[in-house]
C-alpha cells in the first residue's frame, strides 16, 4: 500500500521545506493542507475541499492517510492559539482514523478559547504547560539553563543535550530533544499525570498504532545516569514522548521557519520516529554511512596533550581496528580520503606516505603507521574501509583548482601523464568546435578535448616537457588529468587496488573542493562515479560552484557535512569535549556553541556533572548533523580521525566515556569520538529499523538517482 501522510500548517511563510524533502527522500506521498486560522474555528483547506476543523467531512478525509502531521510549533507558551483547531482530532480515536503526530505541540493553559478547553480530552495524561507556573507543570531539561536564542532555532550548532531511554525498544540514544520551550529559552520535558496514565495504561484500546493494546503508553523518558558523577536526574513522572490512543505527543521535529531544505535540522530524529510509530511504511529506507578524511595522519600536537607521533598513531590503531570491525558487523563501509601527494610533492608530517616511508620518521613511528595502513588496506579489499584519493598537496593545500596556478608542481613517474612524457598542461591557445573548424587551420599538436557537452579541437597547447617539476595552471582538464593520475599512482604504490574506494568509485575531496567541470570530467574518465563537494567547490580561488542539482553528467557531487569536534580554521586538532584553556573553536563545546549560559565552562573543574552535560550535547549535535545529511541532503557526513581522537586516553583508547573516571593526557575526561559517534548512531539506526539502515556511499548515490529524477 502506498504510504501517504497529510501535513497541516497555518502558513507557508513559516513552513520549513525539510518536512517535504524528507518525505520525498523516503518515498512517502504527502498532501499539504492549510489551516485558515489558529483557532478552533479554522477551516482546513484540502485538495478535496475546505472542511471545518471539527467536521465529520474532515474526519472522513483524514481517513485516507496513514498519519496526519501538525507542522506548526512555537517557543512561546503564552500564545493563546496556534493549533487549537487540532483539539477535535484528539478524540478521533476509531481504528479507521489515522495516527496524529504532534511535535512540540502547543497545548498550554494560556489557551483560553472555550471550544478548545471544552474539547480537550479530560483523560489526557500529559500535564498542560502553564506559562505562569512552569515549575509546576514542566521539567526544565538539560541543566535548565537558557540558550542565548530560542533552542528550537539550533541549526548546525547551539544544540541541547539529552539522553533518551526508549522503553519498548529498551534502547538509550542521544538525540536532540525539546518537548516544549518558552520565551525564557529553556528546554523542557513534560510532566505526566500518573493517575490518568495509570487508567489509560490499563484501558484496552484497539488501533494499529497501539503496540501494547492499551490506550496510553509512555514511549520515552530521560535516561537515568550511568555514573554517580552525573547528577542530571528527573522524577518518575517526567516523560519525553507519549502515545494517547492514536495521538502521539512527541518532541520538536522540524523548526518552524521559512527555509529551504537543508541539513540543518538537528531535531529530525523525532519525525522519523513518529512516522515509524504511526505505521507509515516508507517506500525507501535511507542508508546511513560515514566518511573520514586522513585516516592515517598525525597532528604533531603540542599542548595540551603533548603526544609524540607514535602515541598519536597508537591511538589510531585500536580505533581503526574498532571501526573496521564495526563496519564488518553492521555491513557498512567507512569511506576514507587518504592524504596523497606526499610521495612526489609536499613533505608533510601529517600525511600518509610520509608517515610510512620517510626516513625523518623513527622506525617505531613508521611501524605504528604501517599497522594503521595494513588495517586500511585490508579493509579496502574486504569493503569495510574503502579508501580514495584526497590531495592537500596541491592548490595551496586546498585541493582541486583551489589556486590559479600550482607553482612548482611535481608530477609522478610513468603511466600516461607522468615523467618522462611530454603532456599538455594547460588549455590550447586556440580552441574551435570541430564542426566549424576549417580544414588545414589546426596546428600539428591538435587534439580533441571534451568537457561535458562541449567538444573542441585545441592546438598551440603548453606542455610539460620531460621533467617532473613545473608551474601548473590548475584550471584545465589537462591539469586535472595529471593531478588525478598522480594521486591514483600513489594509491596503487601504497597497496590499494585503486584510487576511488574500490567498487564505490567515489572519494571525498580535500577541503571539499571538487574543482569544476574539468576536474569532474577527468574524474569521470578515471572511473569515478561521485565525489564529495562543497557548493563553493574551489575555495579559496572561489571561481566555481557545484551544479545546482549536484549531478553533473552522471557524476555525483555529494554535499558535505562535518562531524568534527574542532574548528579547522582555528586549530589543528580538538582539545576534547571541553578544555578550560582551549582557544576559540578548539574543543567540541566551543566549536559547536554548546556552552549555554556558561553552564559548562563555569564550574567545569569543580562540578563533574558538567562533563556529562558536554558529552550529551556533543553527541546530540553530531547525531542531528549526521541525520540531516542522511535524510535531507543525501550527503556525506565525515570527521577527521586523528584530529578528533587525540583527546582519547592513550592507554585506554576504546573505553567509553566515563566522565572524570578516565582521564586523557591533558588530565581531562577521555573521549573517543569515533567510538561514541558510531555507537550512538547505531542506537538511532536500531530505533528506526523501518527508516534507516547501515549502508554505503554506493547506496547513497543509488538513492540519489532514485529520488532526484
Amino acid at each position: 500500500m502506498t504510504p501517504k501522510v497529510c501535513l497541516v500548517t497555518r502558513e507557508f511563510g513559516a513552513f520549513n521545506r525539510a518536512w517535504t524533502q524528507i518525505l520525498r527522500n523516503l518515498g512517502i506521498d504527502y498532501t499539504l493542507c492549510i489551516a485558515t486560522s489558529s483557532t478552533t474555528g479554522a477551516n482546513i483547506q484540502t485538495p478535496q475541499g475546505v472542511f471545518a476543523a471539527g467536521s465529520a467531512d474532515l474526519r472522513g478525509y483524514f481517513r485516507q492517510f496513514d498519519a496526519v502531521i501538525l507542522c506548526d510549533n512555537t517557543g512561546n507558551l503564552a500564545l493563546g492559539s496556534l493549533i487549537n483547531y487540532s483539539v477535535f482530532w484528539l478524540s478521533w480515536n476509531a481504528p479507521e482514523d489515522p495516527a496524529f503526530l504532534f511535535f512540540n505541540p502547543h497545548f498550554s493553559t494560556a489557551i483560553t478559547e472555550s471550544a478548545y478547553n471544552s474539547n480537550f480530552p479530560s483523560d489526557f495524561p500529559v500535564v498542560r504547560p502553564n506559562p505562569s507556573d512552569i515549575a509546576g507543570t514542566l521539567y526544565a531539561a538539560d541543566g535548565g539553563s537558557a540558550s542565548s536564542f530560542t533552542p528550537l532555532a539550533a541549526v548546525s550548532t547551539g544544540g541541547r543535550g539529552a539522553c533518551v531511554l526508549f522503553l519498548a525498544e529498551n534502547i538509550r540514544a542521544h538525540v536532540m530533544t525539546i518537548c516544549n520551550t518558552h520565551t525564557d529559552n529553556i528546554p523542557y520535558y513534560w510532566r505526566l499525570d500518573t493517575a490518568k496514565h495509570s487508567t489509560l495504561s490499563s484501558t484496552t484500546y484497539t488501533h494499529r498504532v497501539a503496540r501494547n493494546g492499551r490506550a496510553g503508553e509512555i514511549l520515552a523518558v530521560p535516561a537515568p545516569p550511568t555514573s554517580s558523577e552525573d547528577t542530571e536526574t528527573y522524577p518518575n513522572d517526567c516523560v519525553i514522548a507519549y502515545r494517547y490512543r492514536n495521538c502521539f505527543w512527541l518532541p520538536n521535529a522540524i523548526s518552524r521557519r521559512q527555509d529551504v531544505a537543508t541539513a540543518g535540522n538537528p531535531f529530525l530524529f523525532w519525525l522519523l520516529y513518529g512516522l515509524q510509530l504511526a505505521g507509515v511504511r516508507p517506500r525507501y529506507e535511507l542508508p546511513v554511512q560515514v566518511e573520514t578524511d586522513h585516516p592515517l595522519g598525525a597532528v604533531n600536537s603540542g599542548a595540551p596533550f603533548n603526544h609524540g607521533i607514535e602515541t598519536e598513531i597508537n591511538i589510531l590503531v585500536p580505533s581503526w581496528d574498532y571501526m573496521r570491525d564495526f563496519a564488518r558487523r553492521k555491513n557498512t563501509a567507512i569511506v576514507n580520503g587518504v592524504t596523497v601527494g606526499t610521495k612526489y610533492r609536499n613533505i608533510n608530517a601529517r600525511y600518509h606516505w610520509h608517515l610510512l616511508y620517510s626516513t625523518s620518521r623513527s622506525q617505531a613511528e613508521r611501524d605504528a603507521a604501517m599497522r594503521v595502513h595494513q588495517i586500511l588496506v585490508a579493509g579496502h579489499r574486504e569493503g569495510t574501509t574503502p579508501c580514495g584519493v584526497h590531495d592537500h598537496t596541491i592548490g595551496s593545500s586546498n585541493g582541486y583548482w583551489a589556486a590559479a596556478v600550482n607553482t612548482g608542481f611535481v608530477r609522478h613517474s610513468g603511466m600516461r601523464y607522468g615523467v618522462p612524457n611530454n603532456v599538455p598542461i594547460a588549455r590550447g591557445r586556440c580552441c574551435v568546435a570541430p564542426h566549424v573548424l576549417p580544414a588545414g587551420v589546426a596546428g600539428a599538436d591538435a587534439q580533441t578535448v571534451q568537457v561535458g557537452d562541449t567538444e573542441l579541437v585545441e592546438w598551440d597547447i603548453p606542455t610539460s616537457g620531460t621533467g617532473n617539476t613545473f608551474d601548473l595552471p590548475m584550471g584545465s582538464i589537462h591539469a586535472a588529468r595529471i593531478i588525478i593520475e598522480s594521486e591514483i599512482e600513489e594509491m596503487l604504490a601504497l597497496g590499494f587496488g585503486d584510487g576511488y574506494c574500490a567498487g564505490h568509485r567515489y572519494t571525498n575531496t580535500a577541503a571539499n573542493n571538487s574543482g569544476g567541470e574539468c576536474y569532474w570530467q577527468a574524474l569521470k574518465e578515471f572511473g569515478f562515479r561521485g565525489v564529495r563537494s562543497a557548493s563553493a567547490c574551489n575555495t579559496n580561488l572561489n571561481t566555481k560552484r557545484a551544479t545546482p542539482n549536484r549531478l553533473w553528467h552522471g557524476l555525483h557531487l555529494v554535499q558535505e557535512m562535518t562531524l568534527d569536534i574542532y574548528s579547522a580554521t582555528s586549530v589543528n586538532f580538538s582539545w576534547g569535549l571541553y578544555h578550560p584553556s582551549a582557544p576559540s573553536g578548539g574543543d567540541a563545546v566551543r566549536y559547536l556553541n554548546l556552552d549555554h549560559s556558561n553552564d559548562i565552562s563555569s564550574g567545569w573543574t569543580t562540578n563533574p556533572a558538567l562533563a556529562w552535560r558536554a558529552y550529551r550535547r556533543v553527541l546530540c549535535m553530531a547525531a542531528g548533523r549526521w541525520l540531516g545529511a542522511t535524510a535531507v541532503t543525501l550527503g556525506g557526513a565525515y570527521f577527521h580521525p586523528i584530529e578528533c581522537l587525540v583527546p582519547a586516553a592513550p592507554s585506554r583508547v576504546l573505553e567509553r566515556f566515563d566522565g572524570w573516571s578516565i582521564l586523557n593526557a591533558a588530565n581531562q575526561p577521555h573521549y573517543n569520538h569515533a567510538v561514541e559517534l558510531l555507537e550512538n548512531m547505531d542506537a538511532v539506526v536500531r530505533l528506526l529499523p523501518e527508516y534507516l539502515y547501515w549502508g554505503t556511499i554506493t547506496d547513497v548515490m543509488d538513492h540519489r538517482e532514485r529520488v532526484m529524477g
Binding site: 511563510g13 521545506r17 521559512q258 527555509d259 529551504v260 588549455r427 580552441c431 578535448v449 568537457v451 561535458g452 562541449t454 573542441l456 584550471g475 584545465s476 582538464i477 569544476g516 567541470e517 574539468c518 557548493s535 563553493a536 580561488l541 572561489n542 571561481t543 566555481k544 560552484r545 557545484a546 551544479t547 545546482p548 553533473w552
Partner: protein
C-alpha cells in the same frame, strides 16, 4: 524474411520501416523547457557584495554552468520592505569552466522592487538573451533591518 514479426490484422508481417512494431505510449511525453536552478533563503544584510548564497567572495558565482539557458527568471519573496539594492553580474567561461578573465559584466544594478511580504519577478537579462556560463546575484540592504529573502531561480532554455 525477418526473424521478428507481428500480427497486423490477421496477417503475420515482418518488421520493416513500413511496418514497425506497434507500441503504446505510456504516459505523456513531456518536453522540459525550464529547470529550477536555485532555491535559497538569504538574510539580507548591509554587507556589500553578499550574494544569494551568502558569500561575499566577489569572484564566486552564485550559479555556474548556465550556458544552456537563454534566460534566468528570478522569483523572490521578501519578508522585509527595507531598502535594498541588487546587482546581477555575469560572465563566460572556457570549456574547462575557467572564467575568461577576472571580474564580471554587470547586467543590472538597481533597487529591489517590492515591500514587506511581497513577491517579485526579475528576468535575467531583462531584454536580450543570456547564455552566460556564470551569474552572480548580490543583494544589499541600504537601510532598516535585516530580513529574509527567499528566492527561486528558473533557467529557461
Amino acid at each position: 524474411m525477418s526473424l521478428i514479426g507481428w500480427l497486423k490484422g490477421n496477417r503475420l508481417v515482418d518488421v520493416t520501416a513500413q511496418d514497425p512494431l506497434p507500441v503504446q505510449q505510456q504516459g505523456a511525453i513531456t518536453t522540459r523547457t525550464a529547470d529550477t536552478l536555485l532555491v535559497a533563503t538569504t538574510t539580507v544584510t548591509a554587507d556589500a557584495n553578499r550574494d544569494l548564497l551568502g558569500s561575499t567572495a566577489t569572484e564566486l558565482p552564485t550559479l555556474d554552468g548556465c550556458m544552456q539557458y537563454r534566460k534566468l527568471v528570478w522569483f523572490y519573496f521578501r519578508a522585509g520592505g527595507d531598502s535594498t539594492t541588487y546587482r546581477v553580474l555575469a560572465r563566460a567561461t572556457d570549456h574547462n569552466g575557467a572564467p575568461l578573465g577576472a571580474g564580471w559584466q554587470e547586467l543590472v544594478a538597481d533597487t529591489l522592487p517590492g515591500g514587506a511580504n511581497s513577491w517579485g519577478r526579475i528576468e535575467i537579462p531583462a531584454t536580450t538573451d543570456g547564455y552566460y556560463d556564470q551569474y552572480r546575484i548580490e543583494v544589499q540592504r541600504t537601510a532598516g533591518s535585516s530580513y529574509a529573502l527567499t528566492s527561486k531561480i528558473v533557467g529557461v532554455r
